[in-house]
């Protein structure tokens, strides 16, 4: 029995090794393939967001699966590296992409994993295009990382101003996960802006894996918060929204781009909560894209499952879509699929996507001054555009 298992195990290992080398070999032989690495979480806390971002890339890939460079047509292939939403798995996921021979990397959803994977791309000389990683430190200090979204200081600025304008808020309760770079970064920036304008910020954090948010929300209520700012990952957001709904909390919630997710929307539907999120794209921004992606999502059960079972378009999907075309644009402009050529050309690439115009500044960040703020229509279960904030771009500049 034992021996049989030993043999079986050994056989499995050998087989898998063969499979590895076989898959490597196949793509090598087809010389007309350009690989784009998709560095996204499809497991862990941020899996939900990562999958939606991938969806945009897959749709874009299905629309334009080929690129012509130097008179030759190349097939564009997406190679996936699951970073598991965790900073300790990210480096090996990144190096699996590197060893697959990708020429450019897209992703990741989540800033922490992007920062953890970044050095691997830098080491290998592969440019990476961040899609929705909003933390300033993703691109700062890594010349190979670019990004097409706005930054956290801009986002926090927009939200803080919105809170003061719309609700005349004096006290803001901020709740984030302990030890999460994204949450704590946004809260810190929000605090800077809100306090500079004379408001009071109560910053609080919960330990990782926490599920009891009732105590925190009760406290927010008792400490007299006018708004509650929760820039947390989706799983926690769902938990917070559900518990707030059962408490019948009347304080409006502010959320960052992570909360623009249909899991959150589903959780809030049917309650009396007020939720406002800042995001990159609002459904209706590009009719053609909206119709196309909905058809794509409804066309396959897997895509539908990845999108959480319905066809509400997440902003990250639109961003994933745009990121793919930015990469393609760079290839066309460089007339090459070579990583070094792409790296050289990327700073000068400009592209107008469904989420707006994209150009990079000297750090590699997108020059963006528009954020959409949308609110959840809790009766109909849809997002409604609240306002478009063209934040003071100068405020974002002075932060640096």
């Amino acid at each position: 029995m034992k021996k049989l298992f030993a043999v079986l195990l050994a056989a499995c290992m050998v087989l898998s090794l063969c499979a590895c080398s076989a898959s490597g070999g196949k793509s090598d032989s087809g010389a007309k393939v350009i690989k784009i690495g998709v560095f996204e979480p499809s497991s862990g806390d941020s899996a939900s967001g990562g999958k939606k971002e991938i969806l945009g890339m897959q749709y874009a890939n299905s629309q334009v699966p080929e690129v012509t460079l130097g008179g030759q047509t190349y097939k564009v292939e997406l190679v996936y590296g699951d970073n598991g939403s965790s900073t300790d798995k990210a480096p090996s996921a990144a190096s699996s992409l590197v060893s697959a021979g990708v020429s450019v990397v897209l992703g990741s959803y989540g800033s922490g994993v992007s920062m953890a994977g970044g050095p691997k791309f830098e080491e290998a000389g592969i440019p990476a295009i961040g899609v929705t990683c909003t933390n300033p430190n993703v691109t700062a200090g890594n010349s190979y990382y670019f990004r097409i979204c706005f930054l956290d200081n801009f986002q926090a600025d927009v939200l803080a101003n919105f809170a003061m304008d719309k609700f005349d808020a004096k006290t803001a309760y901020c709740l984030g996960e302990t030890g999460n770079e994204y949450d704590q970064g946004l809260i810190a920036f929000f605090k800077q802006v809100f306090e500079a304008a004379g408001g009071k910020v109560i910053a609080d954090s919960f330990p990782t894996g926490n599920s009891d948010f009732g105590s925190y929300l009760n406290k927010a209520k008792s400490e007299g918060a006018d708004v509650i700012f929760t820039p947390v990952s989706i799983a926690y957001a769902v938990q917070i929204i559900k518990q707030a709904a059962s408490m019948g909390l009347e304080t409006p919630f502010l959320g960052s781009d992570t909360l623009d997710d249909n899991m959150v929307l589903e959780a809030i539907t049917g309650s009396d909560l007020k939720l406002y999120v800042s995001t990159f794209y609002q459904e209706g921004g590009s009719k053609e894209f909206d119709e196309g992606i909905k058809k794509y999502i409804n066309g396959s059960s897997e895509a539908l499952a990845a999108n959480g079972g319905n066809d509400t378009i997440s902003a990250v999907t639109a961003m994933g879509y745009d990121a793919y075309f930015v990469a393609l644009e760079a290839m066309k402009k460089a007339d090459s699929g070579d990583k070094a050529a792409l790296m050289k050309i990327l700073p000068s690439v400009t592209y107008t996507g469904v989420s707006g115009a994209i150009a990079f500044d000297e750090v590699g960040d997108a020059v963006r001054d528009t954020a959409y703020i949308k609110t959840a229509d809790t009766a109909a279960g849809t997002w409604v555009l609240e306002t478009v904030q063209t934040g003071s771009a100068s405020a974002a500049e002075t932060e640096k």
């Binding site: 939403s85 894996g209 926490n210 009891d212 105590s215 009760n218 406290k219 400490e223 769902v238 938990q239």
Partner: protein, 301 residues
């Protein structure tokens, strides 16, 4: 700060603490019973609790609630039984460390399978009408589940202690946990007793999961890890192997934790709600190395 001293706020904090404690108690009993008999930290117990939650979601989507709940209970008990037979029984004669590793392996397997099936997306637990109704106590409005939990815990524990103290299988359990080898020589069917322990443990875990996930409705594949760890701490706290110890430990931990979370934000300490649980544990252990109600001689290797 002053606002936090209002009666309404204090009551609401205490209520959620008691309810959390009750839910942890139901999981902690599973830990402590298995430990009492097998001297095994059953790391997979927290994940069985998570699986029970997921089963609840999937099954209640297909069947009406009053059928779904018994089905979920039956399936989870089956799972607990199966885990013991498949992963622990073959290692009865192996070193204790191997059995514990097997438990960690099962925990991995359950978590990874759950990730695979759910795709890592948070799932929302269905609302059970009887539990989610809102009631008001001393001005603090709360869900009915918060009131029901401690009552249900007390009822279940009374039943359990009756079972252990006044039935044949209960006597066998006590005998086995006192002395494994001798009770085997005395003709007690060890395997039946152990299976029964797992059945009871899993059964209580399901009840715990229904109460817990009704209060905190989003389930991720790692949702069982933290409550699992905390109830284990609760079990150690009370002296592992002792059922009343585990229950008292769980309530203590639940209440302490919610109080810390409820302290003024300006103190900046709510980050330490989990850490405090462990700190308290270490203090207790250094004063009383076998927990509050632990037996003196626990090491039987």
């Amino acid at each position: 700060m002053e606002q936090l001293l209002s009666a309404e706020y204090i009551v609401s904090i205490l209520l959620s603490g008691i309810s959390l404690g009750g839910q942890l108690a139901l999981i902690a009993i599973g830990y402590t019973m298995v430990y009492g008999i097998l001297r095994l930290i059953n790391f997979a117990h927290g994940d069985v609790f998570m699986v029970a939650g997921l089963l609840g979601i999937y099954i209640s989507a297909a069947l009406p609630m009053y059928i779904a709940i018994p089905v979920v209970i039956a399936l989870t008990i089956g799972l607990g039984f199966f885990i013991e037979r498949a992963a622990y029984k073959p290692l009865r004669e192996a070193p204790r460390m191997s059995v514990m590793i097997s438990a960690i392996g099962v925990s991995y397997l359950l978590q990874n399978t759950a990730t695979y099936i759910t795709g890592g997306q948070p799932m929302t637990y269905p609302a059970i009408d009887a539990l989610t109704r809102t009631v008001s106590i001393a001005g603090a409005s709360t869900k009915l589940v918060v009131i029901i939990t401690p009552i249900l815990v007390v009822v279940l524990i009374v039943l359990l202690t009756t079972l252990i103290n006044h039935t044949k299988i209960g006597m066998a359990m006590r005998a086995v946990s006192k002395d494994f080898e001798t009770s085997r020589l005395m003709g007690i069917k060890i395997n039946n007793v152990i299976s029964m322990t797992f059945v009871i443990g899993s059964g209580l875990a399901v009840v715990g999961s229904i109460l817990y996930f009704t209060t905190y409705p989003a389930i991720t594949p790692t949702a069982g890890a933290m409550p699992g760890l905390k109830s284990f701490v609760a079990a150690v706290f009370g002296g592992i192997g002792s059922i009343p110890g585990a229950v008292i430990g769980a309530f203590l931990i639940g209440i302490c934790e919610t109080i810390i979370k409820g302290l003024p934000s300006s103190w900046n300490v709510s980050v330490f709600s989990d850490a405090f649980t462990f700190a308290l544990l270490i203090v207790i252990l250094t004063c009383k190395p076998t927990g509050l109600f632990g037996e003196k001689a626990t090491d039987k290797v």
